[in-house]
């Protein structure tokens, strides 16, 4: 299945600026894209980023084994957001380098733990996890009815100029 993720460049820049801010004890910051969705013909889905919800400073747990650990309040707020709106939630964090980013083993393991929880409140929507670098993106999408996440095949950053990340290129 083809999965396309679209975001306006101004919103993505806002995310990058937020994620680059230092935190008192967390090594990195995280947040969520609030997304709408549409089917593609003949098969596929396009995820459309609408807004960004950063994690509040107090919602991180002090855990030196990972770059950022979300506390229960952070998860609850994100779940509430999905419950109250017909949206998909896409977790995002940043790898501070240029070029095509990939998930670390920790990213993959932790995403697989919490992303499917969004189906408890919004089962009909795709949810996911992304990583953004200085100039590219990578991510996985959990699509309703599919047990395994799907790699996002295409990112389109809407701006002037447009940026296309297709299969890592």
């Amino acid at each position: 299945m083809r999965v396309v993720f679209k975001v306006v460049d101004r919103l993505l820049e806002r995310v990058r600026v937020d994620l680059a801010r230092p935190h008192e004890f967390a090594a990195e910051r995280v947040g969520f894209f609030v997304c709408k969705t549409a089917s593609l013909v003949p098969q596929g889905v396009v995820i459309l980023a609408h807004d960004y919800r950063p994690l509040e400073d107090d919602d991180y747990l002090d855990d030196a084994t990972v770059g950022a650990m979300m506390g229960p309040a952070a998860i609850r707020k994100a779940l509430e957001c999905a419950l109250n709106n017909e949206i998909g939630m896409f977790h995002i964090h940043m790898h501070d380098h240029g070029g095509y980013p990939r998930f670390s083993r920790t990213d993959a393991r932790e995403s697989a733990k919490f992303v499917p929880d969004f189906w408890n409140v919004r089962p009909e929507m795709p949810h996911g996890a992304l990583v953004v670098s200085r100039d590219s993106l990578y991510g996985m999408c959990w699509y309703p009815g599919k047990s395994e996440p799907i790699e996002i095949s295409e990112f389109v950053v809407i701006g002037s100029p447009m940026v296309f990340v297709r299969n890592g290129q």
Binding site: V4, K6, V7, V8, R10, L11, V34, C35, K36, T37, A38, S39, L40, V41, P42, Q43, G44, V46, L48, H50, D51, N85, E86, I87, E124, M125, P126, Y143, P144, G145, V156, I158, G159, S160, P161, M162, F164, R166, Q169
Partner: protein, 273 residues
């Protein structure tokens, strides 16, 4: 780089690949759309989605690029003329040609990287822009008009880039409630609007000139909003004064969550006949 594109290599080392994968949608394949299709094929666009419900008529031959007398006799669909034009330049181009109004298969538009609107009415422009915003697609609109000034005529036209997140055609004052209401009141009584080939060619070239740097810029002076006004009598093109008055304005017409995505979304495959 392919020898064919050597003369446009200044567009960047990845330009050929970007164009090859680009999906361009052109709505309306008449005087303006046929020019755009031809230019995009020359540039190297690899994927076309084209819509027009009409067949070639004798009255089209004053401006329809690619159409012949034989097409008039055989009542060739305009989509066939456009397909022939594209394939004659780039046989590898993928073309989805729909002999229908775009609204009949609007779901196909979701996959476009850019939409060119070459339509006559304000209401149709409004619908296309709303659809483009809903799926975060840049929309480039072109149009021309001939005004009777009593004893003489004035040719005018416009090219607008409506970019998701930026000023829309309503913000720019191009789509206004009074114009839409007037058009609705006169529905069916408009008759044939005057159209000639050279303004269509100018406006189509300006539209492609906005599109190319959006995909692969050759300069750093990127603009996110375009509203060009064409004066066909003085043969001049200028940025609309309206944009200067709108500096710093934020569009609120498509900013809500409900304006984005498929309002009838279900996690199942979508079938289009």
């Amino acid at each position: 780089m392919n020898e064919r594109y050597a003369r446009q290599s200044f567009l960047g080392p990845r330009s050929e690949e970007i164009f090859k994968h680009c999906r361009a949608c052109i709505i309306g394949l008449g005087g303006g759309g046929s020019h755009i299709v031809q230019q995009l094929a020359h540039v190297g666009i690899g994927n076309f989605l084209i819509f027009d419900a009409d067949h070639v008529e004798d009255s089209n031959l004053n401006r329809l690029v690619g159409a012949t007398q034989a097409d008039v006799i055989s009542k060739t669909p305009k989509t066939v003329v456009a397909t022939r034009l594209i394939q004659g330049i780039n046989p590898k181009a993928q073309i989805v040609a729909r002999l229908e109004k775009w609204q009949e298969s609007a779901a196909l538009l979701r996959d476009a990287d850019v939409i060119f609107g070459c339509v006559d009415s304000f209401s149709e422009r409004q619908q296309i822009e709303a659809t483009a915003r809903r799926y975060l697609i840049p929309y480039i609109d072109i149009g021309m008009d001939v005004h009777d000034l009593g004893g003489q005529f004035a040719i005018s036209g416009q090219v607008i880039l409506s970019m998701p997140g930026e000023l829309c055609m309503k913000c720019m004052g191009f789509l206004r409630e009074d114009l839409l209401a007037h058009e609705a009141a006169n529905y069916g009584a408009a008759g044939s609007k005057p159209q000639v080939i050279w303004p269509n060619g100018v406006l189509a070239s300006l539209a492609v000139g906005i599109f190319v740097p959006l995909m692969t810029p050759w300069h750093r002076n990127h603009r996110r909003v375009w509203y060009l006004e064409y004066d066909g009598n003085s043969q001049t093109v200028a940025t609309s004064n309206r944009l200067a008055h709108l500096a710093g304005t934020v569009c609120n017409h498509f900013s809500s969550l409900e304006d984005l995505g498929d309002p009838f979304w279900k996690p199942s495959n979508l079938k289009v006949a």
